[in-house]
Symmetry: D2
């Protein structure tokens, strides 16, 4: 098969009898028709449709050497810097089609991460079973163009304690039983993007482990309707509008969701286990994944930025101020912030690192972290400027139901109109788009926390930057004899380790 | 009477048969029981209750020389800098009680503005009718402790055109007929805070006018149920949660609203007309009002900041990170931003300006503008830091209906718990509080636009700062002979004009 | 005497035979004629002259109840919030006269600090000797209108160790011998403002001490020419210009300096010892001093900001862009940043705290810290905007010696002229003023570190803000039962302690 | 010849008898020994030496298809994105060797600009004379490895007037006479980097011209000692230290300079004239040049950032705080800002645009502008953080002459030492390095203004960003029919024009 249409994806998740998915306190039987989840399905679906649409077809497809045919790029293993660049460019374009997160990146990044880690283990330790299992799974995924979630963030309990130190031993997903035919896992993963609308979920460890945490060092994949898996979908600030039955206040018409996925003693057969007890590899795994995901934000978030800039300009035009110098200056500031994120994402891609002899291109971790750190800061600023230009109406516009009420529609039409030739409805629609996108979870909270909070990037800057060299450069310029004994590092720097074959 | 309780206020607005108020497309008959508006009523009510609560009683009352008894401070005319300081301190405390805008400041600032303007006109032009009418109205307001909205922002049509140049002549509120017994007004005011839950609305012009705009130079007051008055309540990003019937996701339990108020040929008797055709006074009026309102934000927004800081710290404690240095540093940054806004508000108060011989203290306009400009910038930053500390859960927590569903409650209890002795419900409640306050219209959009957008403050900085003196100081230090001919100002600087008796 | 003229001050420091002062590697015999130090003398002198100049006379004088006559405000003990406000206003005006730091605040703040601390010790511990000595010294200072330096910052050695733990036991100033008639001190203080041009220096401990640091808990005063005292004046980025003999490149004509003052077993008689071994009082002392000094920056740094704004506007006018909207917007931003610092300084003054029954008004520590934290951030931003508006010429203008060289003066005149009626020399002079002020130590580095680096203010925000109350407010709004056991504080919060009599 | 050593470069500029160069009011006969200019010579020299040093040899050389041999990259025409990337990487490394601007980029960017413009004119208008002259000149430059300045910024007189409208007709460089054998030019260029130490100067127009400005539309090259050329070297804030004869306070030992170059009726033969009267091409020329130069800043300024980070870390280590979390966090922030500039520079390179069939790769103008705009903002922030970490000593350290004075050296040694095993001299040297680099013209003022001030980038964001597409995207998501008539552009967008062959 190789490439599915969006419709085929929708049909594939339509009839999952055994999946346990809760939304707003109720169990959902069909996610594709549920009012709360339908916008998420639509957004995920866009990643499939992109492979068949003229403006994205080339970016959204790639040739897989593993199955010898074209696959959807969202299940592709990066073969070159050009592939990494294509990722960022595709993500920006997809944001234009969805106006929200399309939820398929985490699974994609998980595939690429496991590709590298399982190959590394085979190459460096001579143990090829993970690699063999994973490659079989990869082929399955590519041939069936599966919709995958990636589940990394554990619920974590007390943040200052390691997994094995937690009062609740299930605060991190762990193996509670090892059987001949597989393992049994218990625990929960939080903030899992798109979890209710995928075919399968790939589970990865969320942090570097020590030996005592070995039973927590586990990576695997299961279908969403595997017995013991429960999903509780999370709320977002504006989600209730989806249930109102309108067609205006809730725009954009697509949305994303994140959820809690719980594993109550779930059995995983060996051929779906990609890491088990190898705690030394959890550090590199997390770091490889994080950089992949941080790079991607340079694409999708700048794409959302385009939507916000466009809506803002439309609103400025609607009241006749689009060409005022002060407004132009603010729009230019939005562009600067938006293109900064994107350019860092491109740099992270072009300067990608080859970690394996056979395929396996990783992003440049420094610029990937730069990208994400900008993403953790700039959207709040972009939102503020957008609100500044668009005006107070962003927080005070009447509902669509007022607008549709014939008793008062003429008053709203008359009094919320700006320049004569732009209909009031156009203004209201753009206001709602701007409101929903610019204060969305996907643009604000998730920009802060996705792929690791700002502090995580700060730590990476400290580890990736060559401070020793910088100090030597300074001392050379200052004509200071470099006598300093540099401290031995407390632990091997993982990025460099990851880069060694 | 003088001082009403909150309950008396509620009863006062309960039985308005003729008020035309629309919410979500439907006409509301009783705002005090309407699910959408009830949180607004509760918040407004807090301004009355404060006069009877121990911790605010002293701040919330003031002695009125005009009726010779204590009044609620929200209908008081400032008699000293100490009164101005009390305003800022009261507002901060009220934010603590409501967690939202309590909607009574605009009316209050409108009273003080009209007090000064009508007295100024009497003093400088010898025309005392406005003053006499206003003082009579003021006594009525104070004796009955009325809930007032202030309506200033016109819908404005094409932003680059003056009122009299608009394609829609009603884009600014105007007098369409002058009668023996009063005037007839037409037009609409937008973004009117608390409009659906007040007794009366005071209408003020929104900008400086020229002679050709004279029919737009009008200030007056009418009860909300005056024939011809229609209110359309605006939506906010999280408002639909109020209608769900829950008791958790929609916290805080109070809210505010803003709305569009439309005047369809509304008759106003002369004793309620406080400015009419005196276009020269619109500039000073707007400036006096704006500075009053900008000062106030130093109180209410820093009060909301306290709520956000408190919720953030509670959430940090819930996962065991409250005393980590990096978290402490971020909390300190939030404090810095929050106290900056407050300290500027205090400076604007203590350095208040006496504009009249008898009462009439105005705020210091420079520091009032500094206050508001900080408010237009800092809350987005505070929100970002709060989200950073609190974690992704701010955008992904399950709904209260999941939490109350016995099938899965135990899973949520187990997996969203942080440190053992803090209940999961506490964490969920604080998450919802933080979510609802930190991305609310009242904390973000309204902080940008309330009392004038950031550009309006920039203009005031340009007008209020003495650039000529600064240049002379510089030239004196540089030993440059000051030969420059300073440009004659294109128009009288209004602030200085306002300050002359 | 009471009030000295500037000239009297200069004569007073002219003939100090025994003072050991080094500048640029050479011992200086007369600081008033030394080219390097003369600009500092001029700037310090301005604090005396201010008491006799029309525009500052009222602000620069105050009535001292201790000697029963008017004194220069720089030796005044604050008797009210109005005195604190007068301090901030005076400092802003003095920056206009000097264009640099005038170096007399630290000694002034040291006087007020010792006033409070010695009175507190007398009141709370019944030991009045410090108070009696200090009051005698204060009268001496006020009667003779002395120029005082305040020396607080020790050289500190290894920053992570307490005084008594240092490998170099003299890394903090300490008492090495106790005699019948006094004590002998050893150590050095760094970054001491104006140290070479004062009559006396007051030495204060720089941090909170523990019992083992008791010999470091010492405060005293000595004349600068006391045997054993050596001053080494520090360099500044632009100081060498003072030695060139020109009259243009080195503007402003006043400057400040900071230096290292070393005490090599200096004898201090008992009547000059104001704290000795009372290590418990070092914490409150440091905190009281720091807040006084942080408040003051709201005045002097905003005064320098005025100079920069004025020079920038003059330069904008010189090339014809002063009234362009984009330039006006940037100037307004400078005003906003500048007035923010000032308004916080005013709030810290008006909201001052009465720590003693008899006099002794302290600033509000929260707003004093807000003030200083702004000062630690905004000047770099103001400088950047100034450079942006003024143009590349700030870094590329020819020297005055080129301008005075008749071979090429006509070329410079011709080609660096902007608008026809503003002479090129005026532009060059303003460029040099802007250059020298905006990248000066006094405006940049000292704004960061003076009165404690930014981290010190962050710590104070953590201590001064009532996090417990904020969390209770949040929990009340979220309807969470407040069951949390708040941690007992590890040590008494010093500010509150300081506020108790 | 092709590649010169640094020494050969120095000898080449040593014996220019006719060059008229003024420094500090005096005519310089030998720039290579002049104390003021020697550090500039050293820095420029580093660009030659780099081609022979192991760590830069590969980056600093490139193969020129025009002369068929290796050339110094600073005279190379970019043949691919890889060449553009190499430029950025080389510049970063050169900053490490010099600690300052090495002054050779403008001439290099001028070469690449003229290459494209002259080829474009030939291709689009069929006039090949500019191209032929330029290629001959290029070969000459490459064969002789010339040191070139690029002179673009005119002195500009009244900024709001076009060249032909100026009261001083020479406010922009212009042709005052056309002869059979060439042209005669008059005017001056300001802020010309490295002008006193180059072999030749390439002059380019500084702005888009109209027909009436045709005589100002001129580009040419002349040797520096051409009759009629006068150079007046500009001052920098710390330049006087070079004249003191020390070896510590003035570090880094290299420096850069900028100057005013005046053309008093200078004759230029036709074969050195690369544009004349073709005013329509001035716009594209300026834009092509500006983007080249903006891209480069991503390399050199991040290289200076490395020096500052290294010095800061060395100073933190010297006082024992380098591994404190708060310091590590601030260093990480510096890294983030620094790598942001670099990553944008890389993106501008990798995403370069091919403007010609034969060679001629241009940078991506959007990311080049993003790069420069970051450079216009971040260095002030980096400097502030550096000063914060390093401590007040940055503004208060004693001079080297104090340190070398045996009377007090032991005191300075003792009291300015931090951790025991790091010599005080090391700390002083790093302080001076940090001081001189972080407040240098090259790191601050020039970062703002070089290659165009921030406003110039804002204009480019407005022109380069596809606002129409963004608005269409938004309207599509909001389900608004796109009926808007987009305004016809007032003038052809130059970038797109430049991109068409």
């Amino acid at each position: 098969m190789g490439l599915r249409t969006g419709q085929q994806y929708v049909e594939g998740i339509k009839n999952r009898k055994h999946a346990k998915i809760y939304v707003m306190g109720k169990k959902v039987t069909d996610v594709t028709t549920n009012l709360f989840l339908k916008p998420s399905v639509e957004s995920f679906k866009a990643t499939f449709d992109a492979a068949f649409q003229e403006d994205t077809r080339d970016l959204a497809r790639a040739y897989s050497p593993y199955i010898g045919e074209e696959v959807n790029r969202f299940v592709h293993i990066h073969q070159s810097p050009a592939d990494l660049v294509a990722k960022v460019k595709l993500l920006r374009k997809l944001s234009h089609k969805t106006g929200t997160c399309f939820q398929r990146c985490v699974g994609w990044d998980a595939l690429n991460t496991l590709y590298i880690v399982t190959h590394k283990i085979a190459a460096r330790e001579g143990r090829a079973e993970y690699k063999e299992r994973f490659m079989k799974y990869l082929e399955y995924v590519q041939r069936n163009d599966l919709a995958l979630a990636g589940a990394m963030t554990d619920v974590k309990g007390v943040r200052t304690l390691r997994p094995s130190e937690q009062p609740n031993p299930d605060a991190y997903v762990r193996v509670v039983e090892q059987r001949d035919d597989g393992i049994v896992v218990r625990g929960a993963k939080a903030n899992i993007t798109g979890i209710a609308v995928v075919d399968e979920v790939i589970v990865l460890p969320t942090r570097a482990m020590t030996e005592s945490d070995a039973s927590y060092a586990v990576a695997f994949a299961v279908p969403l309707d595997t017995p013991g898996v429960t999903v509780v979908v999370g709320r977002q600030i504006n989600d209730a509008r989806r249930l109102e039955g309108g067609d205006l206040d809730g725009v954009p018409y697509m949305a994303h969701h994140e959820g809690l996925v719980i594993f109550e003693d779930v059995f995983v057969p060996w051929d779906r286990v990609f890491l088990y007890k190898d705690w030394r590899w959890t550090g590199p795994l997390v770091e490889i994944f994080a950089s992949y995901h941080r790079q991607g934000y340079g694409g999708c978030k700048s794409g959302l930025g385009d939507v916000i800039i466009g809506a803002t300009q439309g609103l400025a035009r609607a009241i006749g101020i689009a060409d005022k110098p002060a407004v132009a200056e603010k729009l230019a500031e939005m562009v600067f912030l938006n293109e900064s994120m994107y350019s860092a994402g491109l740099a992270a891609s072009w300067e990608g690192v080859k970690l394996l002899d056979d395929g396996g291109w990783w992003v440049n971790p420094m610029y990937a972290n730069v990208t994400k750190h900008m993403v953790a800061r700039f959207p709040y600023e972009v939102a503020k400027i957008a609100h500044d230009i668009a005006g107070g109406i962003v927080g005070t516009a009447p509902s669509e139901f007022d607008f549709k009420n014939e008793e008062i529609r003429h008053l709203i039409e008359k009094y919320l109109q700006g320049v004569p030739d732009i209909p009031t409805e156009e203004r209201l629609r753009l206001v709602r788009l701007l409101e929903n996108v610019s204060v969305s979870v996907g643009y604000l909270v998730e920009s802060v926390h996705g792929a690791g909070s700002p502090a995580a990037q700060k730590i990476m800057f400290t580890r990736l930057y060559d401070f020793q060299k910088a100090e030597e450069i300074a001392k050379s310029l200052a004509r200071v004899k470099v006598t300093v004994k540099w401290p031995k590092e407390p632990e091997p720097r993982r990025p460099s380790e990851a880069q060694k074959t």
